[in-house]
Symmetry: C2
Subunit: 315 residues, 2 copies
DNA sequence: CTGTTAGCGCGTTCAA
DNA sequence: TTGAACGCGCTAACAG
């Protein structure tokens, strides 16, 4: 059954009939035990709830459809501590492959991943030096594009709003710093407002509120993500601050809501579903020894200019 | 190791030292094979992406924390067809327990679940006749509460907006019908607008738009869920229809965004995280033969009145 | 191409 | 209380 091409047609059809008649379904535990290889694909991500990872997960599940492999989600809860231990335990299951979020693994975690003896794909970021394979986008560069857009639209006192500053958010902040510094518009102590708490609409409103208190003349914000951006937009509406005329807002990720809020929200689109899908394909290709496949993929990003930064027209 | 109380203290400590020294970690495949029981908890849901199920999943994962069990997600994609087949294949893994969404399983699927030989919990709804155990809320009754609230606020031409009418949405619609009919306010042909497409903010705007075209004098809408409600709110803003004065809006689920939009959104809170958490506890309790635990739990709901239906004040 | 056989690492049973 | 032996259902390797 594992290699039908090595069997005579007659035997094959007999086998198929028997499978049918008995309702035979393989026992995955026995397969794993005998072959020292499971049909499990480990997916190590900080959160299943966050919309961003939910999209990735959807790509992974669709990519695995009818492949015979099953995803198993390992939730790191944004804590790098313990990641190595989680991976070590997971390694005993001898997974067929591993997808892991980001590039900030500890040295020991990288070690464990390398010794896992299966394909490993890092996702959501780019790196010249992946553990094995990688697909994602350059967060810092994407951050730069967002801020550059604000400057082009004529904004000058540009703030940064960020909740739960995970490594990717840190890199977007670095991109923000690159551009405002180059333009001589930097004022970190007053223009940057972050919180260690998780992302939410409510948190976006809070951050906007805090930033306005600290720096009343801010005229635009680059937000960590769309949740924060929408919360900030609502806060402006509550205070009668007109967007985009008096305040420009750029989000990140381009969730569905960005295209339909009032005003619509400028954002940076990231290709999360595609990333999940292709990460799976990279692994399956390797497992089946198919002709070479790219091992280091830049999934790119796309600035989506919308009303929340249309200052020219709004003035 | 499985029953330390039957072993002399001396041997126990020797075993523990050996475990330490060898870095021993049990092999789940071998455990499953030998015992004909895996430590896998099946979670059968229509979607991982939908915020509603993401919250449930978070409860499940938190409930499983340090229990030694692992969740395995089976995605039905809202298709009842094939559910039975999925379950049958899943049954070969001999899961420790199963959590399954809703109460609309086919007779054969119910059959398969009953023969699974492990605890089964249906979630998200109530029923006097569960397959085994159940926890959730009465969707129809919750729908009634939402519409009753609109009537109390003085709205009279009350519409219903729904995307992807899954069985739960159908029951909320039934609740809507109960109340508008009892009040003599029903006009199904003109006041109900649904779409088979998935829920999204954009879809909410579309549905609102279609409803206004079909029934221009509608003065309030009960929306299938908060995504649709927020999309509808944005559509009203785009058209200059004032909410709540000219149009009342009630959502469903009470997502984070409902409390912070402008105006804030009246919604019906459902306890999804708690439901996931407790569903797991019901299963673990049974597996450990602990003293009896409730088998049929009504998780309830809570109307959250907010600005989007404050007609009294707005007038 | 086909049939046979030895473990994979553990739970379970039985004897000591 | 401990130790030894068997077999879960399959893969892989080998001999026919």
């Amino acid at each position: 059954m594992r290699s039908p091409e090595l069997v005579s047609p007659a035997t094959l059809s007999k086998v198929q009939k028997a499978v049918e008649a008995l309702g035979y379904v393989p026992n995955p535990a026995a397969q794993a035990l005998a072959s020292a290889r499971s049909r499990i694909l480990g997916v190590v991500i900080p959160s299943l709830t966050n919309q961003i990872f939910a999209d990735l997960v959807r790509g992974v599940m669709d990519g695995l459809e009818n492949s015979g492999y099953t995803p198993q989600f390992v939730n790191t809860r944004y804590q790098l501590t313990g990641e190595e231990e989680l991976l070590r335990i997971f390694a005993t299951q001898r997974p067929a492959g591993v997808i892991v979020s980001g590039i900030d693994q500890s040295d020991r975690a990288r070690q464990v991943l390398r010794q896992m003896g299966c394909p490993v794909v890092q996702v959501m970021e780019t790196s010249p030096d992946p553990i094995d394979m990688i697909i994602g986008c350059d967060q810092r560069d994407a951050g730069r594009a967002a801020v550059r857009h604000l400057i082009e639209q004529g904004y000058r006192r540009i703030g940064f709003l960020g909740a739960l500053m995970d490594p990717r958010a840190q890199r977007r902040l670095a991109g923000y710093r690159d551009v405002v510094s180059a333009a001589g518009l930097n004022d970190d102590a007053r223009l940057i407002m972050t919180s260690p708490q998780p992302t939410s609409y409510t948190m976006g409103g809070q951050l906007m509120s805090d930033l306005l208190a600290q720096c009343p003349d801010v005229d635009a914000v680059f937000c960590n993500n769309d949740d924060v951006a929408l919360g900030a937009l609502f806060e402006c509406q509550r205070r009668g601050i007109s967007v985009p005329a008096r305040m420009g807002i750029v989000g990140f990720n381009d969730l569905d809501v960005a295209a339909c809020s009032v005003p619509t929200l400028t954002s940076v689109r990231t290709h999360r579903y595609q990333t999940g899908l292709q990460a799976v394909q990279m692994i399956l290709t390797r497992l089946e020894n198919l002709p070479d496949h790219p091992r280091n993929v830049d999934a790119g990003y796309q600035l989506m200019p919308r009303q929340s930064t249309e200052r020219m027209i709004a003035l």
